[in-house]
Amino acid sequence: MNQQAPDPSPPKLPVSLAANPRLSSWLKFSSDGQVAVSPGKVEIGQGIVTALAQIAADELDIDLSRVQMVRASTTASPNEGVTSGSLSIQQSGRALRHACAEVRRIFLQQAAERLGVGVDALDVEDGTISGPGNVRTSYWELADDVSLDRDATPGVTPKAVTSRTLAGHSVQRVDIPDKVLGRPRFIHDQALPGMLHGRVLRPEDARARLLELREDGARAVAGLVAIVRDGSFTGVVSETEPGAELAVQALRKGATWSDGDLLPDEGDLPSFLKSQPAESTIIDKKTATSPGAAARTIRRQYTRPYIAHASIAPSCAMAQWEGDRIHVWTHSQGVYLLRADLALVLKLPVENITVEHMEGAGCYGHNAADDVALDAVLLAKAAGGRPVRVQWSRQGEMSDAPFGAAMAIEIEADLDAQGEIVGWRHAIWSNGHAARPGRAAQPALLAGFELANPFPRMISTNPPQANGGGGDRNSIPLYDFPSWQIESHRLTTMPIRTSALRTLGAQGNVFAIESFIDELAAERGEDPVAFRLRHLRDERAKDVIRAAATRARWKPEKQPGIGHGIGFARYKNTGAYCAAIAEIESAEEISVRKLTLAVDVGETINPDGVINQIEGGAIQATSWVLKERVRFDHRRITSTNWTEYPILRFSEVPDVEVEIIQRPDIDPVGAGEAAHGPVTAAIANAVFDALGVRVRHLPVTRDSIIAAMELTS
């Protein structure tokens, strides 16, 4: 046959680099031997800044200590959208690796010219460029002569995997020394010259409107600078932080609010979720070529409650006006996106707004970081050009920030006469899982909904499946069933504010799928590990399951009161593979004694960083599963402190073992969200193993186990 070979597709730039091609926006060399590296992604406690520094140092052939990581800011940083979805290594890492490879080549060309030798004869060691005959120069000597004000070009080949010296090795995170020495590294710890302190007053009842405000009490507090009110948005500005606290307490006494909106019945979330108006979408459909006959159908329903971000720090921001220009300091996940929303609210061109990132406490999604930034901007209007620092209260953090959405999930499996799965239907009822700022024609910031001329309250939507989906994330099974239909019902009302929380819908969907799979295996009397392996085709998937099983010595001998369970998923069906095996003990309460995980993220840039993320994700998921549930009555959120919203404590934390399957030839993906779904399912399945009871409604508590037992009997 005389078939013409197809043209090889032209080389492309990595996505983030294509969007921000100017090399000087990523890298700046200085003659004193330092390189400033500016990623558009931000540190949110996940160690990304260190992994990116490793990539840059590796590709440039310099010591890690020469890399200065620059905090993201709208003045100069590449616009990489939001730091979320476990995409930073994929997006920023690839862009940086490419940019550094190209910059290295540019420097070598310049050096070759200066030294009069061929480019190929040159070598780089810690920034020193040397060639035959002992000729040498360096990045630092050439820094002033080499202009990086040029666009990246496709087709640059980064180093071969085998010649990388830093990527693939655990290095110490660059931010940790400051943090253990208690140095002021967090936004909360900064003090700008002349800084004032602000506090915002919000209603306790959901979305109540401010009817009347007596200001005399607050005015009498020493240090008061201003009381700000615009519609239902109100707050104080004071010379001191205690002054701001006292003034806002006084303002609360002087405030009269309307009745709030009615909240749903927290005790019956599925009925609420399934009765609301919704937008229904078929997410995926697979039709068997020769459909097997269904002998019977099994149907199960699973729920997960609303979950709070519950960061250890309340959100904080600073803002300073200068004429009609505003400078904002924030721990937002996306400086450009926040800027876009601020521009909408303030009706100012984006050029008038500078948004600069500073580290906050651990961030697990769209929390109140962006909201408090607008609060600070609005209060700073009354500060006469002085900077204003605003910090939310613990109560505000637990009730006014967006939550991870509650979900009801129904799965039906058609089984043939032999009990094999021939059909699978998965349906999700949930609010959308994303209402992030900077992505719509209307702002997503809380104060924007409270102004005298308010913006409409944003109803959460779901990212498309191509981007990992939202409520439907991980709802398409990885198992090789002959046919399926996956449907998502996204609520178009939103009495409780939801947005992106770590894994979006994946935790709920993986919990449901993996619980149901376990149930079907048990029904057939098949080992749950063997049953999963039998239904998977993807070898990387099978490898993590086998690795976790081997490490946990699956399946350990049965002991009274002890149970073992497994859970598996590939995050977003395109990201990291993770299998988890839980060992639980059932006494007065359920405790998780041990979690054994295996993970495959492709190339591992910083193995200890990956283990830290997986381990942290596993422990956080354990907390979600055993303890967490946003509480509310029909008027207000009631879980507004750590007593009402408990999280896992040191004495309750399981041992966690993590095994990484290294795949240096496969592009790296993020690790931060891979463990939650598998761990959730593993714990629930271990409870079944110990007690013979299927808990299908999270959290897994004494009460939910008793309820499940009553249902079974």
Binding site: L181, P242, A618
Partner: protein
């Protein structure tokens, strides 16, 4: 304003302030010592823990008057970059944190533990840290780091 005197990280300190104000307010606001972190303001999370005498306590829940004449140690007094406390070194070695916001309070709870029990078991470390919350899930690393520091201190 009344004056309250106490020892802060070994130094004689005199504060003129309303004695009912919280120690955390005084440390962060008046003295500018931002190592102790505000987390809840109700003594529930431990992010602001300091050592008073021999005990780790939440500074947000401690009125200024109650520390008169006492020794108060904050994270700033635990060690420095040049002379880090063995706990600080161990937390770096074990990479025992993710975001690190809770860590200054956790280090103080751990330091108080090691003062009264120089060779704790893992269970004793967990008990000593049980009033400190960590949201990122770095608990096991922190426990390992405390055990490592204890060993190092025992070895002198």
């Amino acid at each position: 304003m009344p004056t309250v005197r106490f020892h802060l990280n070994g130094a004689e300190t005199e504060i003129e302030a309303d004695p009912d104000r919280s120690l955390l307010d005084i440390l962060r606001g008046q003295i500018g010592m931002t190592g102790p972190h505000f987390g809840c303001g109700a003594g529930e999370c431990g992010a602001c823990n300091v050592i008073i005498g021999d005990h780790a306590v939440p500074a947000c829940d401690t009125p200024l008057w109650s520390v008169a004449g006492k020794d108060v140690t904050t994270i700033e007094g635990l060690g420095t970059i040049e002379r880090p406390h063995p706990l600080q070194r161990a937390f770096i070695t074990e990479q025992a944190l993710q975001c690190g916001y809770c860590v200054s309070g956790i280090l103080m709870s751990a330091a108080a533990l090691l003062k009264r029990n120089s060779s704790p078991t893992s269970r004793e470390v967990k008990e000593a840290l049980d009033r400190n919350l960590c949201r990122c899930g770095s608990h096991n690393r922190m426990v390992r780091a405390v055990l490592r520091a204890a060993e190092e201190m025992a070895a002198g």
